[in-house]
């Protein structure tokens, strides 16, 4: 029992939860208005796309890979949605086509990684440029707007007091938590990240799993793009610019090892919360961009160094 408590106490998630709690305490001291429910709900709209993409990104990084193309897929699928809508296609059909485009983009990444054995960093770096290039090309950098107001509900509306995008995130999170903890899938993901050869020798279809995970990442990026278009009421080719860095930062702050095999979805959620709250509070309280970047950098360093120490501490009780 004592060992168990010791084990839980030194988990990175415990440390992150404490960090989040103390952050809220500090923000409450400095600016009580900031931590009110309706303020938080309003500010949360900025975070949902990042949060949604962080879920598949966690899986990708747990397998020891990386997906740099998520922002570019957002841009390409947003443009697909916009162009189809502009050419008179019914909106639900346009959304479906956007989702399909995202799935195809992700599957292409996965195909290169599993069949051509290209390193994920290289291939997604390449497709990051290529997908955005296609998006800029077909849209000729012109934004599309004029979506019906019912569509805006998806990005701005509330349901049972919580933003619709938030419900989507929670739904996705619950399904993936179930997959990771109640199915063999989760254990296989960790096993791939720690030793993909031994996992393959155990009869697990490693290639098929990786293909599925990158495809999932593409599809979820498309979903995030739809939410973003609905929220902004425009579709532009520069949407999702830099999204990959924000998402990867959140996942890494959340304690997921960039080398794969270590970390959890719970950690990712705490990581998202940390960077979102820090970012919003700095803009709210001081309204200075350079401080924002500084805070983000400091947070990342703090989190990574502490987790390193924690891992060491856990290894030698």
């Amino acid at each position: 029992m004592k060992q168990r408590i010791h084990h839980i106490l030194w988990q990175p998630e415990t440390f992150l939860a404490l960090l989040v709690a103390s952050l809220f305490g500090l923000m409450g001291q400095l600016d009580p208005a900031f931590i009110q429910w309706h303020v938080q709900r309003e500010l949360s709209t900025h975070a949902w796309e990042l949060a949604i993409i962080a879920i598949p990104m966690t899986l990708v990084i747990l397998t020891g890979g990386i997906d740099l193309s998520v922002g570019a897929i957002m841009s390409l699928t947003a443009i697909t949605l916009g162009m189809l809508f502009q050419s008179g296609c019914p909106l639900p059909l346009a959304c479906l086509a956007a989702l399909l485009a995202g799935i195809l983009c992700g599957a292409l990444n996965g195909w290169f990684i599993t069949r051509m054995q290209v390193h994920p960093l290289i291939i997604t770096l390449a497709t990051m440029a290529a997908y955005r290039g296609v998006a800029e090309g077909i849209s000729r950098a012109r934004p599309v707007s004029g979506f019906p107001s019912s569509f805006a509900w998806l990005g701005q509306g509330l349901w049972l007091g919580i933003p619709v995008a938030g419900w989507l995130f929670l739904g996705l999170l619950v399904v993936m938590l179930w997959m990771m903890h109640a199915r063999s899938f989760g254990t296989h993901v960790y096993a791939i990240g720690l030793n993909s050869t031994a996992t393959r020798f155990s009869g697990i279809r490693v290639d098929r799993m990786l293909l599925a995970i990158y495809t999932f990442s593409g599809g979820v990026s498309a979903l995030a793009a739809i939410l973003l278009v609905a929220r902004r009421n425009t579709a532009k080719a520069d949407m999702g610019m830099g999204m990959e860095l924000g998402v990867i930062t959140a996942v890494v702050i959340g304690g997921v090892s960039i080398f794969g095999g270590r970390g959890s979805l719970l950690g990712t959620c705490l990581g998202i919360l940390l960077i979102h709250e820090t970012r919003e509070f700095v803009s709210w309280h001081w309204n200075r961009d350079e401080l924002n970047l500084l805070a983000l950098g400091a947070l990342l360093i703090l989190s990574v160094v502490f987790q390193k120490l924690l891992r060491h501490k856990r290894a030698t009780p």
């Binding site: 179930w178 903890h181 109640a182 199915r183 063999s184 254990t187 296989h188 960790y190 096993a191 720690l194 030793n195 050869t197 031994a198 996992t199 393959r200 020798f201 155990s202 009869g203 697990i204 279809r205 095999g261 030698t316 009780p317």
Partner: protein, 503 residues
């Protein structure tokens, strides 16, 4: 007298004592063997002697002066040099670069390297080792034995007086080992003291003058080799008597039975050629041959890891001309691969997860993974195989080599294989655990599992197999029955016969 003397060395990691109060000495001009099971403290002792680790207490004296502990370069400068088990080799660099990396000869005030002098010295050292190696070929393209020579040469570049060799023959074939022993004897005559660490007791008796035995971090004693025999040495190592793998007296095989697997004319270009054999239920087919003879490649083809070009495999009532790992597993083939740490186990995961990895999907039920049956299945396997671990939730990497190997075998047991392929199942496994692994193999065969056993250790092959197939250069050199086979015949058949590559 020139000697290296340790005085009451102790070292502990966390709460466990890796070394307790070790006092021993190595005299220049002798081969001093260091024996002990895995986890007995041999590696720790080597790390301390070579300066990789610093002891908690104790001293090391060389020529009656204390050695600077914990400093690799200072110790090497005194002529005490270690060749570690995984030699530090840069595969893309040639022998010269490998020898001189970090201590290059400079010229013109250090802005240029003196390639000529480095090459000359490399050639001299390799000549004293009696090895004709190319000094321009990348080391990664050399044979394992040649790479071993390069790491030994790297050690000899210092005026080496004490050479520490950690499992130098672990990945060498019988012939390559023999050539290494020749080199060791030459060094010994030149007055170099050698600390020789090996699991292979035959080698210890062949080479050593004295033996020090470690058990659980403490020294059991030092003996002259003539005062020991194999049984007494093993007894000192494990602290109890270990029966040397008794041959199963009655063959389990009835020749009338339908074979489990029939392989005909299997070929893969550059790996193996025209391989045909069959295995019956309960039969152990040994596969002997040198490293690189194509044994592992055949195993990988049977398990669906690699493709094969032509030929077919008949099992599970089907003729296969190509197959995947999933096909193989679904039809009752399991493989314990050659490299336990890379291919066999996910080391940071728990013993339980490793044991259940191939069959985890069977434990999925409506509410999720059934922790209860998972724990009991894993617990059963741990008891059945005698895996020594504090708890099944400990990471696999915390176990000794022998116990790790039992996990790799155990993970297939509840998939109930009809054919189990074992590729070097006792490599790097200590003596006690080795006989347990042998017992497990025999028990599986007795229950009717067909077994393909690949091993470089001839005594192991000879004592376990019902029939033995010898490979050389990817070709089948014939299948012998247990009665026909002797070490000499196996060795003779496994050596290439073409001119210029005689023994």
């Amino acid at each position: 007298m020139e000697r290296l003397k340790t005085n009451a060395l102790s070292k502990s990691y966390g709460g466990t004592h890796a070394l307790k109060d070790i006092s021993m000495d190595i005299i220049a001009g002798e081969v001093h063997a260091l024996c002990g099971e895995n986890g007995a403290g041999k590696s720790t002792l080597i790390k301390i002697l070579s300066g990789v680790e610093r002891p908690d207490t104790g001293k090391v004296h060389w020529r009656d002066a204390p050695l600077p502990l914990g400093k690799v370069d200072a110790i090497e400068a005194h002529g005490v040099v270690a060749v570690h088990q995984e030699p530090v080799i840069f595969p893309h660099l040639n022998a010269v670069d490998n020898l001189f990396v970090g201590r290059e000869h400079a010229m013109a005030c250090g802005i240029w390297l003196n390639q000529a002098s480095m090459r000359k010295q490399t050639q001299n050292i390799l000549a004293t080792l009696g090895e004709a190696l190319s000094v321009t070929e990348p080391v990664g393209e050399m044979s394992l034995a040649q790479r071993q020579m390069v790491s030994m040469a790297r050690a000899l570049i210092h005026q080496c007086r004490i050479l520490i060799l950690d499992e130098p023959t672990a990945s060498l074939s019988a012939r390559e080992s023999a050539s290494l022993f020749g080199r060791i004897n030459v060094l010994k005559e030149q007055g170099v003291g050698i600390l020789y660490v090996s699991h292979r007791l035959e080698e210890v008796f062949k080479l050593a003058d004295r033996v020090t035995v470690l058990r659980d971090g403490a020294s059991v004693g030092t003996w002259a080799i003539k005062d020991l025999n194999r049984d007494t040495l093993i007894k000192h190592m494990v602290g109890r008597e270990v029966p040397v793998a008794p041959p199963t007296s009655s063959p389990n095989v009835k020749p009338t039975k339908q074979p489990v697997i029939e392989v005909s004319a299997l070929c893969r270009k550059g790996a193996f050629n025209d391989i045909s054999f069959h295995i019956q239920p309960g039969e152990i087919l040994g596969m002997s041959g040198l490293v690189g003879a194509g044994r592992s490649e055949i195993a990988r083809a049977l398990f669906g890891v690699d493709r094969f070009d032509s030929g077919n495999i008949l099992y599970g009532g089907r003729t296969w001309t190509s197959l995947t790992i999933q096909d193989a597993i679904a039809h009752g083939i399991a493989m314990v691969p050659e490299d336990r740490q890379l291919q066999g186990l996910v080391l940071p995961l728990s013993v339980e997860t490793n044991l259940l990895l191939p069959s985890l999907a069977n434990h999925e039920c409506f509410r999720g993974l059934d922790q209860g049956t998972m724990r009991s299945t894993a617990g059963d396997l741990v008891t059945q195989l005698g895996i020594k671990t504090e708890s099944p939730s400990k990471p696999a990497e915390s176990l000794s080599g022998g116990n790790q190997q039992k996990i790799v075998i155990g993970k297939w047991l509840h998939t109930h294989p009809t054919l189990l392929i074992l590729d070097e199942p006792t490599r790097g496994v200590d003596v006690g655990a080795k006989s347990e692994v042998h017992r497990i193999i025999q028990a599986l065969a007795a229950k009717g599992t067909a077994i393909l056993l690949i091993s470089s250790e001839l005594p192991e092959i000879l004592s376990l197999s019902d029939r033995i197939m010898v490979l050389c250069g990817g070709c089948n050199q014939g299948i012998l029955s247990r009665q026909e086979a002797t070490q000499e015949i196996l060795l003779r058949r496994s050596l290439p016969t073409d001119s210029g590559r005689d023994i």
